[in-house]
């Protein structure tokens, strides 16, 4: 009797569980509705090939498509290209989806893809993506749905480059008519531009001819620009917003305490770094750089500057899991004051030294990070003076390489070639540490020309260890990308690069 009763109890439990389970997963996405999303920055221009502001890039990504794109695991997946072949490391052939329509009804063909890439490659266009495409020799459109890219020299990260929103495909006919697409949107993406009042709102509506059948689920997406993080959260709480992208750790802490909201966080691709101008004393001595590296405690920095939301990273952002090494692979990540002092003594600085750190009060400028570094370096007798400057002045000094130490937020790429070559090869376009090392150069060149994952992985493992050892720049941590949303918002995934692609799969359960 007793067993029968408990058996019945178990059965009922199973029944309840299965019902609630099916309610969770089996529910088909509902169509319709408007989603209002709050962001902290207004878009600056809308031409995908021209914009540089991240806020513009994120929105352009909803209205245009690229040849390929990233999913939220940072794997390359098809977008406008259905498939591709890489017969040798200098040739890439893409087969386009058929029947893809621009918002004005014209069909997308290989001519548009060729036009887009040629447009970016033309210096007169002034596209920020030009430097990404430096190794491209020629773009061909052999047939209506086929595009071939030929390279002067191998570049293993070409697919990663093509996944950039700056390489979104634009319609030839519209650009030729309009000059540029900064104010009009003629894309192929899931949403079309309906109404735009700068600094107030931007309304996007569903593209009924979107090439993914059934998507997007939402009728419209409305962007609201709310510069203050506190106000962003308040607007979600009061249901003026359905969701908001939030960057400040303190605000995330508050959002997580609110049981009425759901908060999604993923490790970001952006890496926080502390770099040196290695041509200036005392950081022209690698022992001094190593000593500084040994004196830093990354967990403390994350706790103080990011409210604990982040994880220590090596040269490849920890969020790019396919390539990143665990930090245990880097001996200098274990704080060691005695060894640091010894290195300083060997470098002829037994009593420490004073230098200055360039930083800015914006999130990118990393003032709180610089403050923690300042206090940590005191323990090895090094005095760091903080030079806190306005963002424009910061960029000016960055361009002129005019600093001893600098705190930066480096926009990471999911492919190590794209991220590390530009930053640490002696000819790299954003190697503003002025770092030159023949061994590092050789490894980065090898990683760039090989196509096979295993070979490349070995090369980049070695490169990462060597870079950490030479320490032209100290890789500190990756923060989080966060979204706070109402519980009825379903199907949205926060991406490590902050892209909003998953809005095409988002639906409202209310």
């Amino acid at each position: 009797m007793k067993t029968a009763k408990s058996l019945a109890g178990v059965l009922i439990l199973v029944l309840i569980l299965s019902v609630s389970w099916s309610g969770q997963v089996g529910a088909a996405p509902a169509r319709g509705g408007n989603l209002t999303i709050g962001v902290d920055q207004e878009a600056v221009g809308l031409d995908p090939n021209l914009v540089t502001a991240f806020s513009s890039v994120a929105r352009v990504g909803l209205m245009y498509n690229r040849l390929v794109r990233y999913d939220n695991d940072l794997d390359i997946i098809p977008d406008l290209a259905e498939s591709w072949e890489i017969p040798d490391n200098l040739t890439y052939t893409f087969h386009l989806r058929k029947g893809v329509k621009f918002h004005d009804g014209a069909e997308l063909t290989s001519e548009d893809v060729k036009f887009t890439l040629d447009r970016i490659l033309d210096p007169k266009t002034g596209s920020p993506a030009l430097s990404y495409l430096a190794p491209v020799k020629k773009v061909e459109a052999p047939s209506r749905y086929e595009v071939t890219i030929r390279l002067k020299e191998p570049m293993a990260s070409l697919l990663s480059v093509l996944a950039s929103d700056n390489l979104s495909v634009v319609p030839k006919h519209a650009v030729e008519k309009q000059g540029n697409l900064q104010r009009v949107v003629v894309g192929t993406g899931p949403f079309k531009l309906a109404d735009y009042v700068p600094d107030n709102y931007m309304k996007l509506v569903r593209n009924p001819n979107y090439f993914k059948p059934g998507e997007p689920y939402l009728d419209s997406v409305t962007f609201k620009v709310i510069p203050e993080q506190m106000s962003l959260l308040a607007a979600v709480r009061s249901r003026n917003l359905d969701m908001a992208a939030i960057s400040e750790g303190g605000i995330i802490v508050q959002a997580r305490r609110d049981s009425g909201l759901s908060v999604e966080q993923v490790p970001s691709l952006n890496a926080r770094t502390f770099g040196f101008n290695v041509t200036r004393a005392p950081f022209n001595d690698e022992r001094v750089r190593q000593a500084v590296a040994l004196a830093l405690d990354r967990e403390q920095i994350i706790a103080a500057a990011e409210f604990g939301f982040g994880q220590p990273t090596g040269p490849v952002p920890a969020s790019a899991k396919k390539w990143a090494l665990p930090v245990s692979a880097f001996p200098s990540y274990e704080r060691n004051i005695a060894r640091a002092k010894q290195l300083l003594a060997e470098a002829g600085l037994p009593n420490g030294f004073a230098f200055s750190i360039l930083c800015a009060a914006s999130y990118e400028g990393g003032l709180p990070v610089a403050q923690v570094i300042q206090s940590q370096l005191k323990q090895i007798g090094v005095t760091a003076n903080l030079e806190v400057v306005e963002w424009g002045a910061y960029i000016d000094r960055w361009v002129k390489r005019d600093y001893q130490g600098i705190v930066e937020l480096r926009g990471g790429g999911a492919d190590p070639d794209r991220f590390l070559y530009r930053m640490l090869h002696s000819t790299g376009s954003v190697n503003n540490f002025l770092f030159k090392n023949a061994q590092v150069d050789e490894l980065l060149e090898k990683g760039r020309s090989a196509v096979d994952y295993k070979t490349r992985k070995n090369v980049y493992d070695a490169a990462q260890k060597l870079i950490v050892e030479k320490a032209p720049v100290i890789f500190l941590y990756v923060g989080n990308e966060n979204a706070a949303m109402q519980k009825y918002v379903k199907g949205f995934n926060v991406m490590p690069n902050g892209a909003l692609y998953y809005l095409e799969e988002t639906w409202l359960d209310k």
């Binding site: 709050g38 002034g126 510069p227 963002w391 002045a393 000094r397």
Partner: protein, 316 residues
């Protein structure tokens, strides 16, 4: 009077020319130029590309050529286009001006309705409990920074005042009631400080007048207390208050930046802020010129108001 106004309007020309030169040079003196801000720190273009970008942004010519070119076109009503968004500067400014003007107008009205009666009451009941309370509130209103007050108000409203619109502005032409729902909190946050200032000015000004001989004479004549205060005291006490309001009205128009940021209002303050961040030269220049114009005109209006309030003042 007419001649006076004409003279003042003529004085506007050198003022605006002077301001245009100063702002033109100042924004270019700030470290970091528009091309660098555009490119940011993620890309390092070649020298050729930088030249090309400079040409695109129209900053490749000598400074004086750029200035003359710009000022010539401004005189013809063409303020140029924003370097970052390619939208016409004048359209952008005129689209934002009403929001800032509305906020300034509502805050000023709020401050007048609150500050003037409180100041009068305080002065009439000098050293009473009412006086003490309104003075304490006045000091608090003066000392609290508006960004902090605004944040507190938002925190409170996100819990208890969800009928209001938080950080989601609706323009006055779209819906008056929705617009007011969005403007209530910013008006309070912005107007409270000004109300405190006004209250203190009105109080001391009324107290001063109440000590004058002609008030004693009026009372001695046997005039009713009400007549003495409204006809004799207040009218005389108002002149310095108008000066303060005039100065603040100009300030209100330019000082909305913080409130616009916190409450996400699409006003001119924010437009100016981002234009400066991004070194969007034509936009910064256009905004400064127009705000200068507004400031000078408001001052002129105040000077004319003096005459209406105080017949002893004449501009002949």
């Amino acid at each position: 009077m007419r001649q006076y106004i004409l003279k003042r309007l003529l004085q506007l020309i050198p003022v605006l020319l002077g301001v245009s030169i100063v702002v033109f040079l100042l924004i270019r003196l700030v470290p970091g130029d528009v091309v660098q801000m555009y490119v940011g720190t993620q890309v390092s273009p070649t020298a050729e590309q930088m030249e090309e970008l400079k040409r695109l942004f129209g900053i490749d010519k000598p400074l004086y050529v750029q200035y003359l070119d710009w000022i010539w076109r401004v005189m013809h009503g063409d303020f140029g286009v924003s370097l970052r968004t390619a939208r016409p500067v004048l359209n952008d400014i005129l689209a934002r001006l009403p929001v800032s003007a509305e906020l300034a107008f509502l805050s000023l009205t709020f401050a007048l309705l609150l500050g003037v009666p409180a100041g009068i009451l305080s002065a009439l009941r000098r050293n009473s409990v009412t006086d003490a309370i309104s003075r304490i509130i006045g000091i608090i209103g003066l000392s609290i920074p508006d960004f902090w007050l605004a944040t507190l108000i938002i925190l409170f409203a996100s819990r208890y005042l969800t009928v209001l619109r938080l950080a989601s502005f609706v323009s006055i032409t779209a819906s008056l009631s929705e617009n007011l729902k969005a403007m209530v909190l910013p008006t309070i946050a912005f107007g409270l400080g000004l109300a405190a200032v006004l209250m203190r000015y009105v109080r001391s000004s009324v107290l001063e007048v109440l000590g004058q001989d002609y008030i004693r004479t009026a009372r001695a004549k046997g005039l009713a207390g009400r007549t003495v205060i409204f006809k004799h005291a207040l009218r005389n006490a108002l002149t310095p208050v108008i000066t303060v309001v005039g100065i603040y009205a100009g300030y209100l128009l330019g000082g909305t930046v913080v409130i616009e940021e916190v409450f996400a209002l699409p006003g001119m303050g924010r437009l100016a802020l981002y234009a400066i961040y991004q070194r969007d030269y034509p936009l910064v220049q256009g905004i400064v010129l127009l705000v200068t114009l507004a400031f000078v005109l408001i001052n002129l209006l105040v000077d004319i108001l003096y005459v209406l309030v105080d017949p002893r003042i004449r501009y002949d």
